[in-house]
Amino acid sequence: MTAALTKSWRGWLLPFSVVIGAEAWFLFNPILSDTLAAPSKIIRGAVETMMDGTLLRTTYQTLFGAAAGLFIGMAAGTACGIVIGLFWTADRLSSWSVEMLRPIPSVALIPLSLLTFGYGYRMEYAVVAWATFWPFLILTQHALKQIDVRLLEVSRLMGFGIFSRIFKIMLPAAAPRLFTALRLAVGLSLVVAVTVEIAANPQGLGYGLMVAQESLRPDRMFALLIWVGLLGWALNYILVRLEGRLFAHRAPGLAADA
């Protein structure tokens, strides 16, 4: 779906007309606005954020915070997902707890995380890890449950032990779905990281946006906003492409519609 943007000129018409319309509007109403900025000003703002190092520094901070949190969430979520997916009792024992804990919105943990870790990377990891833990837990569990029974029977007949079965049969069989979980979680980690930075943490792109707003620099603010959008879009695009490439040979359509 994302490829649609490059596929047809018609998709470009709307964004282009918005840009040209905005530029024209500012040309004929040359007022200094604290809220909005002409596209040409935004481009200059973008160049400025690049030159003074803001863009690189904040992008690094956000991506690092998101990635580290994602890694923790993935490790914990996948591990718990495997246990729950494999053992019936673990599934039943955890069912109520998962139901109760999962709906806690990640942002509710921002104050707690702040209290516990103070400002900095660690509070960001914690919130991102909480948010990404759940998709990994749920999707791993589902992925394992949806493995063809026949495949499990075959692995038993071959006399594999439990660990061989997990690593040789189950995880490879579940790989496409696990990758889907990763793709969703990557997007989520970026969203949560930026949110944490906007709400509390004085670092990264989210904070950069807030600073630009507070210092009445709408040009810089919109430049960063568009950059955040591009970043999210590009990450998703790369992962969708990778997903298609990696798993094209099995279950046609799975990668496309997941």
Partner: protein
Amino acid sequence: MKRFRVLDIVLGILGLLTLLWIWHLVTMLELIPRVFLPSPAATIAALEWGLVNGDLLPQTLATINRMIQGWLLASLVAIAVGSLIGVSAIARAYIQPTLEFLRPLPASAIIPVAISIFGLNSSMVLGVVVFGAVWPTLLGTIHGFAHVEPRLVEVSRLLQMSRWEFIYKIGLPNAVPDILAGMRLSLTVALILAVVGELLTAQEGLGTAVLHAARSYRAADLYAGILLLGLIGLVSNYGLAIADKRILAWKN
């Protein structure tokens, strides 16, 4: 079958109780300082006191109010606009790529823009909630309208149904599952953005309540607030799941 379900419930509760017991042990042994992790008993007490004597109840209602208001408004806009875009293949060709590009944009990133437009007040929060909650339902509605069974399009042509009749007799009912899926996601997003908005603007609500609790090291109050936010998420999820089942009875 029934025996099985009873066992499920028993095990589920057992698991939850075990978790609570571990929590209790951790605080008893002070493995984690009480400032960061209060005991379950203290949390429950704070919850009870806050709801009965304190202002936890009005704060909860304020957050719920904000979430539901923004969500309803967003859903209305999303379904109306989504139907208009979804019905026409031409409109989709022009607009959908832009929407697909905007979708991965973190809704919270729009907050600075909203602040500069509205200021730090409750309309800003509502605006952000609406903006964020519009996307899932909007894209769901468009998807639902774009994927009508071609056979049904033929049936509508054979019966010489008007475009309007097609929209509300075939297009809209066909899109309902996608719309509902979008609305469920939207509600989660609405809660998240309502809380973020409160964290920033100090408007009355649970977001503000937990932030104040954290700032003044009242851990039990903090956990009580988080618990309530989880409860709001849980109840709203269940409510929509039940509505889903009712409305989509024909799917099973």
